[in-house]
Symmetry: C2
Subunit: 701 residues, 2 copies
């Protein structure tokens, strides 16, 4: 195809469709479906699908190793639309490719993944074609994208997963994993720091199975990219260690194919292809930011169709044979590959039964029987150990039996205790390693861990809790996508001590608890940590955040207190009194032993108190009302919550101050000092807890 010239008015497209080639028909079908869907929804982004249709067409029809009848084939190539706003490009491709839907139960539903009717319902309630592509919602969507840079980051995780899985499961004659990851990204992705972090890591790891195609259209929402962005992106990627290729015209499918062949032949580094395109190509708004995020308008849609040589009056028009030819181009390549793979896996099962059985579990998101058998029970210990330390022990106990639990830290593993002992580092020279060095790149780590989870690894990422701020976007996306990622956040309070307020989380616990679908667990001692890890691993379709202390916590004597298994219900009665309690003391994490001590003090003063451990509000809320009321009897109004964090959210459990609710929490940022000084300063002492408990009783009476 030819030039990208962008005259002021309707673009004539000389010769287009004169030969009626399947290529041109398919590409313009993608373009017009995208225009029409946005126009009908009166909402959406037409310009990028129109510009990148030739790129999408080339990848899918000539390179992607994919069987539309088996979108869950583990060894399929991945196609990631990091420019998620261009969702109509992806929906058009899925539709034309004839991808068959796989239901939530993992079985085929018998429907098209995206029908033409679905495309006509673009951006409508419950449709298969929401504004941005949603993983689990639409078959063929490999990851949820929209927040810029997210797809780029995920793709690095997918490429890592392929390398790791290949290193573990491939055997001579059995290339179980051997696939590539293609990414379409844009100027927005390139400006975001997360893509820079992920790209630097990908270059370091020499992920030659990864190809980013960068749509350089010189347009941003505020106008030309020269307003804010004129760096040499290609040179930057060279600095990261990528192979960098350039294509002058996004319509030149021959050049695109040549570049993609170079990618396929490159074995020592990832590939970055800069493609110059014209946003809204062929429309009166071509080359303008006005083609980005709003419908073209009825008149412009007609003018554009005319320029394409397309029937102006037809909407959602797929010319005869276009879908069939496009699908055939994919099936011809992909189906034999998948069929061979399936046959090969039958032989693999015979020759490598243990690995095959392991892989079956992995692909079903299940765990081996007795996977948690080595998790220790920690003996009572007044001195105890930091929950980051007990977490390290528990992690090291469970990884032996679940080889695909892999992860690492944003350069804090010695502090977050997430290293797998005896395991190698994951490096370009050793893709079998299980310890990941993400570098000081929290946002990138989050996106990469999500990408790994998307390929069924039980991936984890760790840093200090305060640096959650750097990686909230991927943590949120792990919840939206219902991924079984585990986020390990240590140094969880003013317990950080001397590093001071920039390193002391205050609001972070509340901000995690506020994310729908994220199980935030702050265990109170080593045995609660053991159950917290069990809770995390047992759910492959829900992310869990473990919130752990820097400082030592006593290991409670469980012969005296209730079992730590209560963690599984989110909240439980740790210690009680005879008869109805006069006051309920609640705590999590490092404050659990503190309220247990206050409970003893109150007992000595003749006050009947109950201690409730509340490590996971999320899980507690999932319990039925009867259980919740048994733990927190509605009639007991004097309630004190103690947590070395902000009070936000505790009021749900303690009630209003006037009815007897109290919190001992942080209302300011912390300070740099040894922890004991801070505990005194901010009132985290058992005497103060007992005092406030009596105040609560007075207010409630």
């Amino acid at each position: 195809m030819s030039s990208s010239e962008a005259p002021a008015a309707v673009k004539p497209v000389p010769g287009l469709h004169e030969d009626g080639s399947p290529e041109r028909l398919a590409i313009d079908t993608i373009r017009t479906l995208s225009m029409d869907a946005v126009q009908k929804a009166n909402s959406g982004h037409p310009g990028t699908p129109m510009a990148l249709a030739p790129v999408g067409w080339t990848i899918w029809s000539q390179f992607l190793r994919y069987d539309p009848a088996h979108a869950d084939w583990p060894n399929r190539d991945r196609f990631v639309l990091s420019v998620g706003h261009a969702s109509m490009l992806l929906y058009s491709l899925i539709h034309l490719a004839g991808i068959e839907e796989i239901g939530a139960d993992g079985e085929k539903s018998g429907k098209e993944a995206v029908s033409l009717a679905d495309i006509e319902q673009f951006r409508q309630l419950s449709s298969k074609t929401p504004g941005h592509p949603e993983y689990r919602h639409t078959t063929g969507v490999e990851t949820t994208t929209g927040p810029l840079g997210a797809g780029c980051g995920n793709s690095v995780g997918m490429a890592i997963a392929e390398r790791w899985l290949a290193a573990r499961y491939n055997k001579p004659g059995f290339p179980v994993y051997d696939h590539d990851v293609y990414v379409l990204c844009g100027d927005g992705d390139m400006m975001e720091g997360v893509s820079a972090e992920a790209a630097s890591l990908a270059g370091h790891l020499k992920l030659s199975n990864l190809c980013w195609i960068y749509d350089s259209n010189h347009i941003s929402i505020e106008g030309g990219t020269d307003l804010a962005f004129d760096e040499d992106v290609g040179l930057r990627f060279k600095a990261y260690g990528w192979n960098v290729l350039h294509i002058d015209d996004a319509n030149d499918t021959g050049a695109i194919a040549a570049a993609l062949r170079t990618f396929r032949e490159t074995n020592d580094k990832p590939t970055f292809i800069v493609v110059h395109s014209v946003i809204g190509w062929g429309s009166p708004k071509a080359g303008s930011e006005k083609a980005h995020g709003e419908p073209l308008g009825e008149d412009n849609v007609r003018a554009t169709k005319k320029a394409y040589g397309w029937p102006e009056d037809k909407s959602f028009y797929v010319p005869d044979g276009v879908a069939e030819a496009f699908k055939a181009s994919i099936v011809e390549r992909g189906r034999p590959l998948r069929d061979e793979w399936v046959a090969m896996m039958d032989r693999y099962r015979a020759e490598h039964p243990e690995l095959a059985a392991e892989l079956d579990l992995l692909l079903k998101d299940e765990l081996p029987a007795d996977w948690d058998a080595d998790i220790p029970e920690f003996p009572a210990d007044e001195k105890g150990l930091a929950s980051r330390d007990s977490s390290g022990k528990v992690l090291n106990a469970l990884v032996k039996r679940v080889p695909w639990v892999v992860g690492g830290s944003a350069d804090l593993a010695p502090s977050t205790k997430t290293d797998i002992k005896g395991a190698d580092s994951f490096e370009a020279s050793n893709y079998a390693g299980r310890n990941f060095h993400f570098g000081v790149r929290e946002h990138g780590m989050g996106a990469v861990v999500n990408g790994m989870a998307l390929s069924h690894l039980r991936s984890y990422g760790s840093t200090f809790l305060v640096f959650l701020d750097y990686m909230r976007a991927p943590v949120r996306l792990s919840a939206i996508m219902e991924l079984g990622a585990v986020w390990v956040f240590t140094h969880d309070s003013i317990g950080v001590g001397e590093d001071g307020p920039t390193h002391q989380p205050i609001e972070h616990l509340a901000t995690m608890r506020a994310i729908p679908g994220l199980d935030t667990i702050r265990p109170g001692d080593a045995n609660e940590v053991a159950w917290a890890w069990r809770a995390a691993l047992e759910k492959a379709d829900r992310p869990t955040a473990l919130v752990l202390s820097r400082q030592a916590l006593p290991t409670l004597d469980r012969s005296k207190y209730a079992s730590a298994e209560g963690v599984m219900k989110g909240g439980y009665v740790l210690a009680d009194c005879d008869g109805e309690p006069e006051v309920i003391l609640m705590a999590t994490g490092s404050e659990l032993a503190l309220v247990a001590a206050a409970h003893e003090t109150l007992k000595g003063q003749g006050v009947r108190s109950r201690v409730v451990s509340m490590p996971s509000w999320f899980r507690f809320e999932l319990q039925d009302q009867e259980y919740q009321d048994a733990v927190l009897p509605p009639g007991v109004h004097a309630r004190v919550a103690v947590e070395m964090a902000g009070s936000m959210g505790w009021d749900r459990y303690v009630g209003r101050a006037s009815t007897g609710g109290r919190t001992i929490t942080m209302s300011t940022f912390g300070a740099s000092a040894p922890l004991a000084k801070l505990q005194d300063k901010y009132g985290f002492t058992s005497d103060n807890v007992a005092k406030v408990a009596r105040e609560a009783m007075e207010a409630a009476s």
Copy 2:
């Protein structure tokens, strides 16, 4: 000085101190003070101060234009320690330079900013020497650093501010602003995406007053940087458009000075100096990650002092004359410059009285009289307008009278409505522009806006609320630093509609309200928006987040309802009933009109309800108990809060469910659909509000 070789054991330093040069004495004083302070605190980071002491010494003694007696001189060069963990380097420099303390009242306290006694109190409660440098806490600290990349980002804002201030206030013969910004950064800074975003912007803007000195020590916490980071950082900065220089040995002060002279002579781009250093230089732990984040140990401290030719038994030792010589080197250069500047400003006041008066206000963080006189009062209007639109009108009304209100968006200005109409863009070719194009770089924008605020600009940054996730770290730091930055977040709920769950904030309001010291305001109509902007601008020592709708909101008839000035108190009674209310309806933002409608419905049903507008919880909590109880009478237990966001935090005001508390909020992520469909789906209708209000009354009774 000489080589960086790193033998295994104690490093001999041949010839060191043989000549007893002031340079060597000063540099080793910085090193030993840093070692001793960390050792005494038994906490901290000795290695980087030891490695970078020669760099700090060179900048301060030979380049920094600074008067230690006037640390608040507006035209001083800025020194930013982005490697905030190396705080002892900065404290040592401040001490040796003899910087005089300026108190919270802006007056000199008569004390040293950092005395030797303060250094001995490193990392202790209330000391002047907290673990990481804290702005406002210690004179001489230009910005709070520690979270990696933050200082880098701030520095771009400082350099921008200098350029903007120069463009506005410099006149022929009056170089009011003409200073540079020096930054020390490390591998961690370079791995973080925020520094990449900020560096790309700085290159684009050709900020030749900005110099980053990158400490490349090849060490990260997990081990060598080759574990995760082997990109060509210098080449990357070339791609950003920076001038890149290399220094092989951090001890080579001659080479450092030569590079800094090149920086001073470069007028068309920022400068990036790669300095190869040895962490913990001269100590037995030199070149190892063990020198990074823990005390060296008593024996190693002694061995290191021996290697330096330092008295082994002396701690916190400043040899005679060292401080005096170091201070003199700064004063000799800086004092005459400041004296000239002060004299020049006297003439400036005479020749440019209006600009001088403006500058006086700016520097005192005050606003002109009648600064808000043009802010419109919006007439009642059932159709109304989006609060992002009314915000745009209010902003445009106030910027006329406060020229130093400047800001922009992360490539969303057409949507966030933050453009200043008729003003130019801030560009390399026009540093007088007031509209900033930050690019799709939310994190970078946040750090840059903070840097601008640190130079007294009333800076604002805007994006969609959901992308707060990308920039939480700088928003938090604006609160820690008590900066008057304004964060404008639009598209604040499922009101986003078709863009779907990735673009619909759910938890974000709660996560902002949880940040200590951040005033989060979600105004309910155009007149509340007007007051919200007043609230924001009136506080120069507190950040404000404005949370605004995409969709139109009715402008309430204030002849019927209470005045929108109630915003200033955070919460107020918008509409009431005769006698004691049976139920209180609370809302913010787009739900305010909804509960006002439900109030009417309930009135028709004979139910006495009160409507409370709660745009700022932060401000409401600052009111005395009497006011709070007048708005929310403790005896009224039936309370319903309505907000198109998660419920987190509302329980504080509504109380527990069993006592009559109810929320109509979001418990899941949203969905892609037109807003009206979503409002139905999730219960945001006045009928549902009325229904839930009656349920609350039943539960409370």
